[in-house]
Symmetry: C2
Subunit: 654 residues, 2 copies
């Protein structure tokens, strides 16, 4: 009786999970078909959502598994809802765990379809299992020269812009809600904090979608850096913003009005949580100073575990795991990555790429499914129209004024085309969904969830699908550039690459003025942090003042001495394309000439080759490719029949 | 009130999970130290267990988190224990899900330490999440020539041997239990079916441990094949055996005695479930006929999802997921692997290797932890001594008589040294643990769990740690062999290797007689299945009778024609080292001369080099290396300074 029931349950669970796996498989097959045929009008995430919607419709109308009759309501005389419950059924004790509160109406209404109830996941799954790999991957693949170049603008968009957008949307929605109350369209409570929370939730633009779409198109590198950097960081901002709004919200207290003190308190919580998560992420990222180069499997496993434990540690400390994992990813890409063996660099990259791909497609499928299978939808046309308008205006109030202000400081202006593109490409995705599904207990939250879902659908299908057209209409892709690359092939893995574009000289002088903060940090990083934390860079004994000699000697790893005469690829990653920086140590000299082209002379010969602008663009516009191309890199096209003289330990990709 | 409670819970959960991650990290770091210093007296799995035990002691005596006061027992007047419960707490409805039954004694006794309760996982986690990757990896890395050579013996040990062992142990334990009842040492019921179940549980020897230990030692290839093959397959047998015993057990009925009809019925269930799982696994394995070679990420993701969906599908159909996943792995290694792009071959291999490593170490850590944190241990000295004796005798009754019978048919006898080694290396590990923790509700099951845990500890620490000594004492490692290898380097990835050992000629003639069944299958597989299911092998148009021409043409993939003049590495994997098989098609001829050494002549030149026996041994004795070495394979030692003329698309490992 009991065992067979448990077994039936288990079988049912397997079947439910199988639905999702099949959905993913179907999506992958269709993506392949699309890539094969070069369809571009619909993105793969949009596709996953369509399949999700279809399966949702089938589940809602096609399959009907009646709810177990024994799930009758118990009217127990308890005055609390403990997380664990022991029930005494005629002498035998059964343990029950709390799943959540159910609104009284839901029980009588739709709740009788067992299947729909089963395919509804615990919202925490999204936050604790599916988001971390996505966010980590974003951080891990963020290590782009162009990201660091546009650091200031990205930070402005991500922090200031998200906060502006959050408040604009919050205020507009508060007006909308007031109006609805007047018209009599609102059936429940909707406080100002709810409006602000809604603003925080829908302010997070999605790095996943941006990455996926722009990765395939050959888009301007600066636009890509701005969009991707902003969307990665504003996710973190939105998470912390929403959780500080929620934590401010006094429970049981109906005093949900605007107060300066409360806002300041929220701001304090925001800063505390954000900086805590940031510090934790960076600390664990730096700590993962692996020396296990000889055992790739151990190395990869350790890398994976450290990333995960960052997340858990942050959550256990009451910080935000997602933010910690983001900065852990960035730090690991910057420091730890250099300590890994070439094989582990490949492995970790591929592993996180796969996890990211699966998690991303799962979330988007689930979103499609949730449109029909989620049981507490509250479709309110007026709220939805208001929200679309507010989101549009909020994004506009983020991009245009900030761009205007930033352009005052930048000599390399963000053109109006760029601004329109950023406006258009502010897709909402996985993070927005995860934030909004986290709590759907009250009427207000349910309405917010439904509206958020529609916003995500609209932006992914319409904006995501139309990006290609939009890009070609505003002509941002700079395919006509002619780029020369000098590839230095020094015996033991040195690849130096650079890019020069039309506005090269103008841009260079801009940097000279605006990036002084960055320059200071770069020098500190290059001379002290990198030598301490990785085996690359100049030994500390060279860079530190002579008085610190003994300290320097004890902090420098033996390998750093071996590498002394090697210029590591990643160092040149950060070199600004300026004429005034010239690094020289050991017997290698890297100098940058006036046209922004690096020339490199080392003990081994150098090769110079011209490659097409398209090749370079593709390379630069995709963040995670860079991680691949870190061993000996050959950018020059070559015949298979003419194998080069290269150390076979290093792998080449072309 | 409510939200903060949930948050506290979440924080606590994160901290608990963090303990396990830290345990794993610690294990990895120590493993690295051990490998670095070349310690061999303790295996890494044993190490993981030791750390688990230490943390368990700390949790039990050092940390005391009192149980939440609100978890008081509710005495509800219900007459069932439904999987879902709706509780009406003063007008608000809360949903609770059933976690399991708790024995009345446990509630008052130890149950007050919340921490211990939290680190106890749902047993289903082991079966549904941790075991599948381990088992799949075992199947995926099983593709060894030596496995197929010893197929008959392996099947005999795995099927017949496990059943013998199960019944011997069951009968001995039944005697032991009877005795205990007489002496008054038994406090609860212990039926004959419980004894049989115990036999089935502890009969499963562990491929994980065998693989891990023998991988590093340079052991005789045939011994390795016998041990590894047996332990992989007997896991599957034990799972099905135990579940058919459980399904036979009539609930509520105390008539647990031996009946011929019941045994026959169990046998029927066994056959049904096993063949169902087998068919399902092979079917999905074959179905994964990927053609997505151009998109490695999609390919890897699809491969991963198909393996997982095999497991879920089997569970949903009421078969055994673990068995299905095993055969899915074997089939995919044999067919699908050839269709993958070289990059995906690496990726999938590395992915499953990592998953396997993490899951394995997690299980062993958890085992150590469970020794102290599991709340319902029943230590019964008499039962434990009886069980150790029974396990020893059961293993002996499996190995020695079967070896004797097999030796009647084999000309290449299994020497007594081999037999002692197989006896000694029958470690119990993850599978035994997962099977025994699956149900610990009754007194008998709790006693079985405790005893099983001790058996696992003993075998892993004593037998696992002593294997090196044992191996050197019975001198099975054949380091003195001199082996010549001819490596054929044909323009597009052909590597043929073979091994010849002391008893070469004797062994070859053995095969000629005993492996006729295998030969028929091999020919069928080579001529029909491989061409249909992969792009390798001769086109069907060549191998099929002329009358089936149109059918053959439509079943042959275009790539197979391109590959026509290539001899794929894996085909030669299965070629028996006999003088009478000579394959010839296209312009390549591979013939085997009398001394068992392949000579190969192709359009490109051939190279012959002598390599040390140690190198070859190491290569042959590790199953999963083979998966790596499938591109162009170079077995000859070479200087880095002299790069060979090889197509750079293919990767080399040395």
């Amino acid at each position: 009786l009991d065992i067979s029931q448990v077994e039936d349950n288990h079988r049912q669970d397997s079947a439910d999970l199988l639905i999702f796996i099949m959905l993913l498989t179907l999506t992958i097959l269709t993506i392949w078909l699309f890539k094969h045929r070069r369809f571009r009008f619909l993105h793969e995430t949009g596709l996953a959502m369509i399949y999700g919607v279809l399966v949702g419709v089938v589940l809602l109308y096609g399959v009907h598994v009646p709810r177990d009759i024994s799930n009758a309501t118990l009217s127990c005389h308890v005055n609390a809802s403990p997380p664990t419950l022991l029930i005494n059924v005629s002498g035998r004790f059964y343990e029950y765990t709390l799943k959540g509160e159910i609104s009284a109406s839901a029980i009588s209404d739709v709740q009788d379809n067992e299947m729909l109830r089963k395919v509804t996941f615990d919202p925490e799954v999204f936050f604790n299992i599916l988001l971390p790999p996505i966010i980590f991957h974003a951080g891990y693949s963020l290590k782009r020269r162009h990201f660091f170049r546009n650091m200031g603008s990205i930070l402005a968009y991500a922090f200031l812009g998200t906060v502006i957008s959050c408040f604009i949307i919050g205020l507009l929605m508060y007006g909308c809600v007031k109006l609805m109350k007047q018209v009599g369209q609102l059936d429940g409570d909707f406080f100002f904090t709810d409006c602000l929370l809604f603003g925080a939730i829908v302010s997070a633009t999605d790095p996943v979608t941006v990455l996926a779409i722009f990765n395939e198109l050959q888009v301007d590198v600066d636009l890509y850096a701005l969009l991707f950097g902003e969307s990665v960081l504003n996710d973190a901002v939105a998470v912390v913003l929403s959780s500080s709004i929620v934590s401010y919200q006094p429970e049981g207290d109906n005093h949900h009005t605007f107060e300066v003190m409360a806002v300041l308190k929220s701001f304090g919580v925001f800063l505390g949580v954000f900086s805590g998560s940031f510090a934790l992420g960076v600390a664990t990222g730096v700590m993962t100073f692996t020396k296990l180069r000889d055992f790739q499997l151990l190395e990869t496993a350790l890398f994976f575990l450290m990333s995960w434990s960052t997340f858990l540690l942050a959550e256990a400390c009451g910080f935000t795991g997602v933010v910690a994992v983001l900065f852990c990813g960035i730090t690991q890409a910057h420091y730890t990555f250099n300590n890994l063996s070439p094989e582990s660099q490949d492995r970790t990259k591929q592993l996180f790429e796969l996890l990211n791909f699966l998690a991303e497609n799962f979330i988007f499928s689930y979103m499609g499914l949730a449109l029909f299978t989620f049981q507490n939808h509250v479709f309110n046309p007026m709220f939805i129209v208001g929200a679309f308008l507010a989101v549009f205006l909020g994004r506009a109030a983020n991009i245009y004024p900030l761009s205007f202000l930033l352009n005052l400081g930048r000599r390399n202006k963000i053109s109006s085309n760029f601004q329109h593109m950023m406006m258009f490409a502010g897709l909402r995705g996985a993070m927005t969904f995860a934030l909004s599904i986290r709590d759907t207990a009250t009427y207000a939250r349910q309405m917010m969830f439904t509206t958020t879902l529609l916003i995500v659908f609209f932006t992914v299908w319409v904006c995501g699908g139309g990006t290609t057209q939009m890009l070609s209409s505003v002509v941002i892709c700079n395919r006509a550039d002619v780029v020369f690359i000098s590839v230095a092939l020094i015996s033991n893995s040195v690849g130096v690459d650079s890019d020069a574009d039309n506005s090269g000289s103008e841009r260079r002088s801009t940097k000279q003025e605006s990036a002084w903060l960055f320059r200071i940090w770069y020098n500190f990083d290059h001379n002290y942090l990198k030598p301490i934390l990785t085996h690359s860079g100049p030994p500390l004994t060279v860079t530190m003042p002579t008085c610190c000699g003994p300290l320097a000697r004890c902090l420098t790893s033996p390998q750093a001495y071996e590498n002394e005469c090697q210029l590591k690829d990643d160092d040149s990653d950060l070199i600004l394309a300026e004429g005034d920086i010239s690094l020289s140590y050991g017997d290698i000299t890297v100098s940058t000439d006036a046209s922004g082209v690096h020339t490199s002379s080392g003990p081994a010969g150098t090769t110079t080759a011209a490659i097409s602008a398209d090749d370079l663009d593709r390379e630069l516009s995709c963040g995670d490719h860079e991680l691949v191309m870190r061993g000996t890199r050959l950018v020059l096209p070559m015949d298979d029949s003419e194998p080069p003289l290269v150390d076979p330990r290093h792998r080449m990709r072309m």
